[in-house]
Symmetry: D2
Subunit: 413 residues, 4 copies
């Protein structure tokens, strides 16, 4: 093991599992470690510190190990600058480029630590030495990389700070850590999510709702519309199907001949679906259709009336689509990215596709709630990395109305 570098970890590295992960990574990837210093936090509010030398048989493997250690917050000790290399062509990264986590990150440039702006996972970090206020660093997704961009490579000179598992119950999501103590767990958990939503708004935070069509089918549309009307939702991220079903329900109401309870016969009554889109196209768009009185209620109606911006991202299974739908997936990602970067709290409601897309752009500091009746969907979303995320496997058709009642502290209209 002739190739060695020294990394350090600091914080609640034992109770957050960081230490375990670090030891595990090194061993799983075939490296060795030698702990040079280990100061354990003697009480629960004391942080720990570990410095260890990591070795591997060749430089490539060592880099691999260091890369993975980085992802979890083990940073190189050496006070060296990050290496930067110009991008050889548009949308092409240099060999060994540094791929970001979604955790707060600093890069060292000419002796100074720059905080990386708009942190988001799986991006390149670009250093701009000539920012108006001095050097700056920010993330770029691959398709935004331009020839000549100074891209950070390797792992040296970079510090990652994963949020630690909060131990006390003071934060909005503190309730998840202490165990659920209520007598009516599902109900009380929704109550605590309602509290977190209210607290986020009271603190001036922004709430983003990511919603799938099942929310409309299962009867959650009215409750979401109400939350928008009352000012609790700042942004909506959805797809063409969500908006169309919502509008169609307003246009055709209960006579629409489809089974709103299940997704099992999704084609029944499909003529209304196409005609709804056609009518919105005729009007010129959703806002225009609201103005001319075609759309009189629902989630999209409340968005227009209350100036709540929405992003409708296109997908290859869309009908139509509506004029408001962004059909280019790169453009749609950029619009989603902008929303995600503003969000302090995100409710992901019954959509895997859109939730993954939003989740890809979220920093790990955003509070996230994932709700779906399918446990696999909830698990997959929680696995994607926000340490502030909580999941709930429940019926969206009872979740949203119950949430609205609890947030607004009054029964359903």
């Amino acid at each position: 093991m002739t190739h060695t570098r020294t990394v350090e970890l600091e914080g609640h590295i034992i109770d957050s599992g960081m230490m375990q992960q670090a030891f595990g990574l090194v061993m799983d990837l075939g490296g060795e470690f030698d702990v040079e210093q280990f100061d354990v936090g003697k009480q629960k509010d004391k942080t720990s510190y570990c410095r260890m030398a990591v070795s591997a048989d060749d430089e490539k493997l060592l880099q691999e190990i260091l890369h993975e250690l980085h992802q979890i917050g083990a940073n190189l000790t050496e006070p060296v600058d990050a290496r930067v290399e110009p991008s050889p062509a548009d949308q092409v990264v240099p060999v060994g480029f540094y791929s970001t986590t979604n955790h707060p990150t600093d890069v060292r440039y000419e002796g100074d630590w720059l905080s990386v702006e708009n942190i988001e996972m799986d991006c390149a970090i670009v250093v701009d030495p000539d920012g108006p206020e001095g050097p700056r660093a920010y993330t770029k997704v691959l398709n935004s990389v331009e020839e000549g961009d100074l891209i950070v490579t390797d792992e040296a000179g970079i510090r990652v700070k994963p949020p630690e598992r909060p131990r006390d119950s003071s934060g909005p999501f503190g309730f998840m850590q202490g165990g659920v103590s209520s007598e009516r767990p599902s109900d009380s958990l929704i109550g605590e999510i309602a509290d977190a939503l209210r607290e986020t708004k009271e603190a001036g935070g922004k709430v983003l709702v990511v919603a799938g069509p099942a929310l409309i089918h299962s009867g959650g549309g009215d409750a979401l519309a109400r939350l928008i009307r009352e000012g609790y939702i700042d942004m909506i991220s959805a797809g063409n199907g969500f908006a169309t079903h919502d509008i169609e329900r307003g246009l055709y109401g209960t006579s629409l001949g489809m089974d709103m309870e299940t997704m099992e016969h999704p084609r029944k009554g499909h003529k209304h679906h196409i005609y709804t889109i056609s009518e919105v196209i005729r009007a010129g768009g959703i806002a225009e259709a609201v103005e001319e009185g075609l759309i009189k209620e629902g989630v999209m109606y409340e968005c227009v009336k209350n100036d709540v911006p929405y992003v409708l991202a296109g997908s290859i299974r869309d009908d139509g689509p509506l004029p408001d739908t962004i059909t280019d997936t790169i453009e749609a990602q950029n619009a989603i990215r902008e929303q995600a970067h503003k969000a302090d709290m995100v409710l992901m409601l019954s959509t895997l596709l859109h939730s993954v897309a939003v989740g890809n752009c979220l920093p790990s500091s955003a509070k996230t709630v994932c709700v779906d009746i399918n446990p696999a969907t909830v698990t997959q979303l929680l696995d994607r990395g926000s340490s502030q995320a909580i999941g709930m496997v429940t019926d969206i058709g009872t979740f949203v109305p119950t949430l609205a009642e609890k947030v607004l502290d009054e029964p359903a209209e």
Copy 2:
């Protein structure tokens, strides 16, 4: 195709799908049919009639086909008596014994049609020629068959009448056939189940609840206890785990150190579980533990206080068990059978094992509601044959409280 018999079908045989099934069965099994008469119901409230000759290459295959046709209500036209044969030994049926469906069934004996008592699927039919009021026929499960019992064999002389799909909305479950029209489907579907529950009680019917431990873990226990206290539940069918978790929750409340939200770490806090059982054993049973003040609240408490009989059936994964748990599975089946035969409406809540056991004993006329967050469980239960069953894939932790609110027409305590 030299072996032929004639069967007839009558009723709403087209819109109930019976006709389609009959044609399909004959073809799938390699037989032939020749429709001799077909009178279609010209309007929706008119019944249809079909008489057809069914042929097969050999008698064995023909019997196979006739057996399957029987299951769906196609009866032999010949006005012959049913064949009976004495059982050769205890728990042994004669070759070619008739295996029941769960539909109302008649057997022809000495020229008279006897209605089969206690109809239940997969049983033998025993004819007792010397009943006090004349000949009678009733079902016996295999393990109750005694040597010499006169067992019905073959398919002749038997009439099966599957309940037809109700077309109008007048019945308690009529709401499922007409599509769900409410603006809040999950919520409104629970409302309609609440209506059906109230109507069943008002009509003097009996309501059986089949419940699994997840009901307690997800926070539905208080609401079920309340429904029992208010007189809406007549019988409980559950297992040792359900009762123990319910009692344990009363004994240890919220300090029990386990995650009541999930089943994911079922062993945590398990000492309380064992100790709860030990304490009930010490007291001599659940009723005694209520009397001596050990158990002060919960589902089992309300059962004891309100004289609601319960069956706790044992399983090989049980701890303990409680003294009230019936550890012999045959005895437990008999106790379940007795409950099932009395029930007019059955709520199957978050338990596959107990729901299957109860469902095995239910006649197809019992109204059944299956609720589980796992779609596979709901599907499996609905597939087992009650044409009056409806399923709902939802969170039991929001379902039971919402149901209680709607039945009692007042918010949670």
Copy 3:
């Protein structure tokens, strides 16, 4: 019930369930029917015929009922021409436009029945009176509709012919109707799919594979590559993720540091993922990367080497994307549509999004096999309408290798 029209159904309308559906639809939607003639097919290979008057209280409801009856093959008896109306604007359909099924369809125009070209569900039908060889009719999706297009409206003058459930075992998928008789069901079912695949190729048919990234992760990539190399696959429909994972696996092999068994930690080793895309962009595309020797094996490699066209449709959760990925969802749909219209057999392997997109464009005559380990995915795909579709809930990582062995009749390389 003052509004009445007469419809007729012909074919295996009882055993295909068409009759049951027709009666059910009329009743569920609040109409009445009066059967004027009913000739039952007396044996299994004889078709039945039904003519009935359908009535409703108002014209709107009657149209609704007639529309739904159409979807299942009940056609108006009157020998009238279809009504056509010019589209009022681009992407806008006239009120009451006829929305297609995926079944073979004719429209009557100036006394002649025109077969509708490129039939696909949820489209408008455009009549072109001045085709080079006389009038023709074809489908258009909403976003292709141009101002002035003559669009078919209402239900009159249109005939739909749903494929009937095949009763004999002569067709490639006949094996599904007769029950599964083998001693090793999963294994033998794959064998029969292999037979169907070979028969399709021998008959000169085209095979389309729709594949998701799980196919690569679960180890099915080599087997699929082999089937392509041996000439059994004619087209691939996938996404950016599928292609990238396939290429990445070739580039980084087994050292890629990620868990190829599960999707559970999709971000691990993600740097390779981004770098793979970057390298393909640098090369100029997948074909160029194959040419320059960057890509040396795998599914995409075999596609390029064997001139098997692929469509990579973009999605908002993509990284990159690869230069070959079509980022505009409308363009991608058009490319998918072109593939779907050519396909005689479609294998949908572990992808809901792409399978739905392809399924939306398939005529009901295409043989379709849906394979996924998630039963909900299989169910959702089968519900979308191809009467020739079969589903299999199994592990894609054992399915594809076993299929390849059976098709090629030799063990894995």
Copy 4:
């Protein structure tokens, strides 16, 4: 925090996660800790040691915390004897009884450490001071506890040693820790399970198969029968349904008229099911039915012919049952317990009920493989505590044949 005790942890306490769990438990339950000594293992093969004082506001909470710490291997430092107290009555434990984990455990009695025999979770520990070879300690489940048994209470004087996560690949299940490196993951994972099975047998170990009816339905019966015939399986744990389906398949073969592919219509062909049971009852049991030639093939046949003992545990959803089925659940548990205590490797194949029952009796040292197509089943089984367990979400109908081929190194018969 006036109540304090000192505990110590030793071993790979960081990379096994034990340290993280210990810190987390104390904090979650509202206690405090003060680390008095912490010696970190400086390289991967070096163990760590931690001694810490744990405090709580009252003795009850402290005991709660110490109990939970015990479960994960944190033992009290004080060299005191375990407290024992006589059981007040049959099946009743004293207050504060010690509830076992499934890890190797020692209790200190009169200054000596006794290794607890037949360790199994959720049991009481009984100390017998007058064993023939001196004092001994062993587990008793609640229903075996007899009045006067000396039961260990509290946490003092007890040492628990959870197996540590193996780091190297030398052990039979080492392959799971190092990541899956094969090019065909599902296939290669089965290969590694086959290796582990062969190695277990070569080392003289016992292999227990726990099987559900889905194994027969999905076509895995022949392969399992073959593994028994070839001597790879030492014991079978199953239910009445498994045995009946296996025998029925031999008796009625492919003509049995039921869909062996799915469990979706479990009642079709049910007459054969009942008749099969009746015939075995007539014969006197499974062994007798094999002898008289009624049963000629299958899993149960091979068990009889090869003297492989089986336990058939009854359940309330059973038909019949077969004479071999143990209908009393306590008796059945005892039979299962005996099997479990002998097993070195356990294959849990497509049954949640029986797998949980077996898992409840397994020490954490038994190698366990859980296979099911339902991820929830696999997760639930893995969560129950064996640190040597691995799970695989796959199709049992391809898993068992593939396993047999790989174990026997020859294609299917």
